[in-house]
């Protein structure tokens, strides 16, 4: 692969630079895991306190859109992994298209999420705006929907950042595919996979409780 003549002076070699960058990404993902970890912990505390209300709230989510979105994200992760695997000067065109494809799936996810949000708004399920839910479970259901909105909104922000990353890499890796871009692509892919993994957890926590019974 063609290489720029020099690398920053704190590195001793190109592999050294690339492995260093990759370690940085893993440490960053550790922080992200703790960010969502705190949120998921809080979710579990309230689910433990209000098991019936959380099951009831869960039944008001749109499992069809949730499931489609899970499939959409997993497919996008597959495309990104594929792009990382085949990255070489000969495959820049395919790599760029794979990344654009993954970004489109990401945008589709956001769009579907938007539809879901607007339906919940119509059903008065948005806490703090015009939450209306009768019965003895109302408080617990509201807590469920707070977590639903906070968690999915933070996840969506991560998705948007990821889409920006993938599109940037689709552009620059076409112009000069060095190992530096391969490392950058690999790091972006790690991030993208992480965001997808978070969604798998959120999907199980948000859409599935209460679905098997009743």
């Amino acid at each position: 692969m063609p290489e720029p003549p020099a690398f920053a002076s704190q590195y001793v070699s190109i592999p050294h630079r690339d492995h260093t960058a990759e370690l940085g990404m893993w440490v960053f993902i550790a922080t992200e895991a703790l960010l969502f970890g705190g949120l998921i912990l809080a979710y579990f505390v309230y689910r433990h306190l209000f098991p019936h209300a959380f099951a009831e709230g869960s039944r008001h989510t749109d499992i069809l859109i949730g499931t489609i979105n899970t499939a959409v994200l997993l497919t996008s992760s597959f495309l990104v992994a594929w792009a990382v695997e085949i990255f070489s000067p000969a495959t820049t065109r395919i790599v760029a298209w794979l990344l654009v494809g993954a970004s489109c799936l990401g945008l589709a996810f956001i769009a579907l999420k938007g539809i879901e949000y607007s339906r919940e708004y119509d059903e008065h399920l948005v806490p703090g705006i015009d939450f209306q839910f009768g019965g003895s479970l109302a408080n617990g259901v509201q807590l469920f929907f707070i977590f639903y909105f906070v968690a999915t909104a933070i996840h969506a922000v991560h998705m948007l950042i990821g889409i920006g990353l993938l599109l940037t890499l689709a552009t620059i890796s076409r112009s000069s595919p060095t190992t530096r871009h391969h490392t950058a692509l690999h790091s972006a892919a790690l991030y993208w996979h992480f965001v997808d993994v978070v969604w798998i957890f959120l999907f199980a926590l948000i859409y599935l409780p209460g679905r098997a019974s009743s």
Partner: protein, 535 residues
């Protein structure tokens, strides 16, 4: 001294504000931290003035609440947490491991900009009207009742948290990947072991604070009940999440200080650190156990008795690695050829003050005593002994130790020693009376108190004046030294660390040739002393 160094390569403002040189970024942090230190200190001074008399004759109760909140927020997030890692750490980490820069220099500069953004937002909140929740943002007061700039201040802290995370990440990766050939983990200076442990806490704890503040801001903004018990929320959950960060944050503050003390004690007693491996692993042990003790902040909050017992036990456990460090410093001092230069005076002061703070921490880890002492001045005195007596003293010690390396200039030993002694004296006079006040039952965060407490409060306020003067002194003699001080040799202390093997101040890329490490750490012995030192 004619060759260029990192200070003289370029003089333009742009070369400072767009620098990726870790040494210049350290200077940027240093300047910002002085600014925040004196803002926080001004608030502390106002608090002590108010408390000199039992009546409310200086500020109103509302202003008083805003003052101690401002003092807490600024000092914790904008001075204590970034102080040693981001200034001294930023400067010496690459030098100590023989690297030319941190692993991610641009990320390092970005951390500073994020830090300043967070700082400016917080300052805006403070000067636009202030915030009265205390630095802990306890709900439901912060979300329901407080009529102040809670969300803005929380946003500032939230943003500054990213700066912490990025700095921690940079240090972890740098220490893992950029060590010079031959610099094995067990040859690493102990300051770096402690910074490594600190970075692990920064990376793992700060995101939890971020999500906690985000949930709190959501609750306040939308009026939903995450922490509001009236609609099923749980204010205790906020405290759990908050202290999951904020207790380890105490170790973010003190661990780098302990690391500095290793360097100082070893250098000024001309001996290797006693029990190197134990001190190194003690840092990681403190970091690890520090994650399991947050509940000792909640003994009287209504958590279950079992939880309190477990947290009490774990809190006692932290004393073990901490004591390893203190005993090993004293063992290092034993039969050393001691030199009482200014950094050593700070180091000795640190050992005394930190030990006092640590031992009173054991009082507070004890459930029965804590119930008596909760929210009294005993607690205030305890954590000031750790954070100010410990951390700030270590910071000053490290600053004096590395000052010749940073600026290439020597400072006045006379004034430096005077300041060190005055800080020790002023500090004890300020905070020791607070132990007595606390034991007698004076609660914290009140601006009026029964007249019988006045004697101790006057002593404390008098000490605060001495302390304030002592903290201002380095501003003058170090400031003078930076421009007019005598030129320093490369290695004024005859220390063996890699950072002393390059010129003072170092060239832009730290080392002209890649250093190779062949010696064990802290080899202060006759063979080393006999080696010619490049001046």
């Amino acid at each position: 001294m004619s060759e260029t160094n990192y200070l003289t390569t370029d003089y333009t403002l742009k070369s400072w504000f767009l620098t990726t040189d870790h040494k210049r970024v350290a200077i940027l942090y240093f300047a910002s931290l002085i600014f925040f230190f004196f803002i926080g200190g001004a608030a502390a001074t106002a608090i002590r003035i108010e408390l000199a008399t039992p009546q409310a004759d200086f500020v109103s109760s509302d202003t008083y609440n805003r003052l101690f909140t401002m003092h807490g927020i600024i000092m914790v997030w904008f001075f204590l947490i970034p102080s040693i890692p981001n200034t001294l750490g930023n400067f010496v980490v690459p030098l100590m491991i023989g690297a030319r820069d941190l692993a991610f220099p641009r990320l390092n500069l970005m951390s500073w900009y994020i830090f300043m953004l967070g700082g400016c937002i917080t300052l805006f909140a403070i000067f636009a009207g202030g915030i009265d929740t205390g630095w802990t943002f306890y709900t439901p007061f912060s979300t329901l009742y407080s009529n102040s700039y809670v969300i803005v201040a929380a946003a500032g802290v939230f943003i500054a948290g990213f700066s912490s995370i990025l700095t921690g990440l940079n240090f972890i990766v740098t220490i893992h990947r950029l060590r010079a050939p031959g610099l094995t983990w067990y040859r690493l200076p102990l300051f770096l072991w402690s910074l490594y442990a600190t970075s692990v806490i920064l990376v793992l704890a700060t995101p939890v604070l971020a999500i906690t503040l985000l949930l709190m801001a959501t609750e306040r903004f939308f009026g939903v009940g995450i922490f509001d018990p009236r609609i099923g929320g749980d204010p205790l959950l906020f405290q759990h999440l908050f202290w999951f960060y904020s207790h380890p944050a105490v170790y973010i503050m003190i661990l780098p200080g302990m690391g500095v003390i290793n360097e100082l004690v070893s250098c000024f007693s001309r001996k290797p650190v006693f029990g190197y491996k134990f001190v190194a692993w003690a840092s990681l042990a403190i970091a690890a156990v520090g994650f399991l003790v947050w509940g000792h902040h909640m003994f009287v909050s209504g958590q279950s008795l079992i939880a309190s017992l477990v947290f009490s036990f774990m809190s006692f456990m932290v004393a073990v690695p901490s004591a390893i460090k203190v005993f090993n410093w004293t063992a290092t001092l034993h039969k050393g050829s001691l030199r009482f230069d200014a950094p050593m005076l700070y180091a000795l002061g640190f050992i005394g003050l930190f030990t006092t703070g640590g031992l009173t921490g054991l009082f507070l880890a004890c459930l029965a005593f804590d119930v008596h002492a909760t929210d009294t001045y005993f607690v205030v005195a305890h954590f000031h002994y750790i954070m100010v007596g410990g951390m700030v003293t270590a910071y000053f010690g490290g600053l004096h130790y590395w000052w010749p390396k940073i600026t290439g200039r020597l400072y006045s030993e006379y004034w430096a020693r005077t300041a060190a002694v005055l800080i020790f004296f002023g500090f004890n006079l300020t905070f020791f009376p607070q132990f007595i006040l606390g034991a007698e039952g004076m609660p914290r965060r009140y601006h009026v108190y029964p007249p019988e407490f006045q004697v101790w409060n006057v002593l404390s306020s008098g000490g605060a004046v001495i302390l304030a003067v002592a903290y201002l002194m380095p501003l003058f003699y170090l400031g003078y030294s930076a421009f007019f001080g005598a030129r320093s040799p490369a290695n004024p202390w005859n220390a063996p660390g890699l950072e002393w093997q390059t010129s003072s101040p170092p060239p832009e890329e730290n080392f002209t040739t890649q250093p190779v490490v062949t010696r064990e750490p802290y080899q202060y012995n006759e063979a080393f002393e006999a080696e010619p030192q490049n001046a």
